[in-house]
Symmetry: C2
Subunit: 338 residues, 2 copies
DNA sequence: TTGTAAGCGTTATCAA
DNA sequence: TTGATAACGCTTACAA
């Protein structure tokens, strides 16, 4: 089924069908209706490849996600969902591309093969090859996250530095003097994962400002690791009374470690973090946390990308979200441990 | 950058470049290398739209997911991740399409617009329009899930009926006589959601076989709903000593309701379910459950789809997974409640 | 208001 | 072993 067949049956030229479809040229009401009837009868829809070839655009955006092997966090999942949703609202399709590891080819296809009009890139490192490659290619892109030179790219990001700093200040206000930061995995941080570094910077700064004693620990992204990480922290640093964290997936394990050590939250020990609201609310007790506005950030990323596609020369724009900390059930006055 | 430019610089015809690229015709080693050099120098990659137009296939598969608004469960997320992963391994791209609700157009574009070579459909209802439309369109598709007439389509699915039945038998073996099934949301079940109906069927069957007393309850897909659902169950049915469930997302709330009622798991109350392993293992206590093999099912779905694309006339194939129940920490001997 | 025809970048047929 | 050329299905200048 193609446009020629529709034209034949409606007794008009192919171009007339095209114009009736796109509205880029007036078509008399009568022929428009005749064409419409045929289109509906045959359930015709223009061939996307032909249209893309002719127009030079695909009406598709690429979403580059971390490889599936390492499970997506609640927050990452939130971004994927809202990006797909926002794109669909703008009649854009979304091509998913796992990057990293063995999926190099997938990324190359998407970027170089003109399969998409633009790209949204997740999980950006401070130094990131993919950003370099996208820049070279000239393909419009927007980061969810940013490199260490964030001026010359468009991005939305979570202000982990400020947020973790606020967590520490909040804990210090409650009298806590010995606080640990539970970061993401050591590999991720070593690989230059932005949120890990920025959280650490914010932690260090706040600890210095308040003249506290701070401990930094990396922790793999799963509950088991959270459990053993906190077990170790409690053993090695008996003076600790609070934790600040950006590691969503390890949190349930951290809760468990505290429970097993006989520490009640928030009576004996406090926790504050940065997490997806959905996750924070559903923990027991609910986590005091800065709730990352994934829906807004994802939607804004799509919006910024659409703008860049429309006008690739426009100046880069940035959105750094620092949502307020929502007080829930996990922070309370400091109480020295035995 | 196009194939003509490569041909010009390498001093050969466009077709020769094409053949050097696809290997569908022998090309002398010398010219092949000359072409290869130019390609690498310019980092050329064939235009996907032109290729799709000419070849009549897109090297892309569609993945139709439930709309983002209703959060994806751990299991659904697992499917998405493994499908993307398996597809990338076969050098296929994945086009994501949220279906249902307001995203009708996205589905239509993907199906009718020849944007993909085949489709993987998630969250299938017993009667499902999308299956009907895909059948009409002639586009190869594979379901993760199945309709009430599953013979004439290709699918992979979880055998909820058998699994819930096994859960009930396991609980009965431990002496439980009064068991509740916590199903997915009432809307989902009313809309003919397969797993909900099949779980109910398995539950009813096993309850009859063992001459037990069974209570069926629907529960929305979040922790809060799990909490209030179990609160209500405990109040209205003081005789209950165990729960079987397929509602992953409500489980933490169910745990909380039991704790608040002063019931220890598994000493006072047992729970068994069907869930993603990752989730089951990370609960506290870890959930006794049939672990849905998302990785295998997702990979098999892609495999089956690739086969159907290659040979659309081949007979339909099915894969019904009934993984064994993994005994973890949530089921124990029945102990009558006060 | 409508029709004609060129061309987007490939692949594949037919010649050489 | 290679080259010229006709499609694939669409959009859009240009003509009528």
């Amino acid at each position: 089924m193609n446009i020629g067949e529709i034209a034949r049956r409606a007794g008009v030229a192919r171009s007339t069908v095209s114009y009736a479809l796109t509205g880029k040229r007036p078509v008399s009401e009568e022929t428009r209706q005749r064409i419409q009837a045929v289109i509906e009868e045959l359930n015709y829809r223009p061939n996307a490849a032909a249209r893309a070839l002719k127009e030079g655009r695909t009406r598709t955006i690429g979403l580059v996600i971390p490889p599936a092997s390492q499970r997506l966090t609640d927050m990452q999942l939130g971004f994927v969902a809202t990006v797909v949703d926002a794109a669909a609202r703008a009649d854009l399709d979304v091509l998913l591309s796992p990057s990293g590891g063995e999926h190099e080819r997938s990324f190359e296809r998407v970027v170089t093969g003109r399969r998409v009009d633009g790209v949204i890139l997740m999980e950006i490192r401070l130094e990131d090859d993919r950003v370099t490659r996208l820049r070279q290619s000239g393909l419009p892109f927007v980061g969810i996250g940013r490199t260490s030179h964030p001026e010359d790219m468009t991005w939305v990001d979570v202000d982990y530095e400020t947020l973790i700093s606020q967590c520490v200040h909040h804990l210090a206000d409650l009298g806590h003097r010995d606080i640990a930061l539970v970061n993401r995995s050591a590999e991720l941080v070593a690989a230059g994962y932005g949120p890990g570094h920025r959280a650490q910077a914010g932690f260090t700064r706040a600890v210095a400002q308040r003249d506290l004693h701070g401990v930094h620990a990396c922790c793999a992204d799963d509950a088991q690791a959270g459990l053993s990480c906190v077990e170790r922290l409690l053993a090695e640093h008996p003076e600790l009374t609070a934790i600040a964290t950006i590691n969503e997936t390890a949190i349930t394990g951290m809760y468990r470690a505290l429970a097993q050590a006989g520490l009640a939250v928030p009576k004996d020990f406090s926790i504050a973090g940065v997490a997806a609201r959905h996750l924070a609310e559903n923990l027991d007790p609910p986590l005091t946390s800065a709730d990352v506005p994934t829906i807004e950030l994802g939607a804004r990323a799509v919006e910024l990308l659409i703008q860049r596609i429309a006008d690739p020369g426009s100046p880069h724009r940035h959105l750094l979200a620092a949502p307020p900390i929502s007080l829930r059930g996990t922070t309370g006055p400091a109480r020295p441990r035995a």
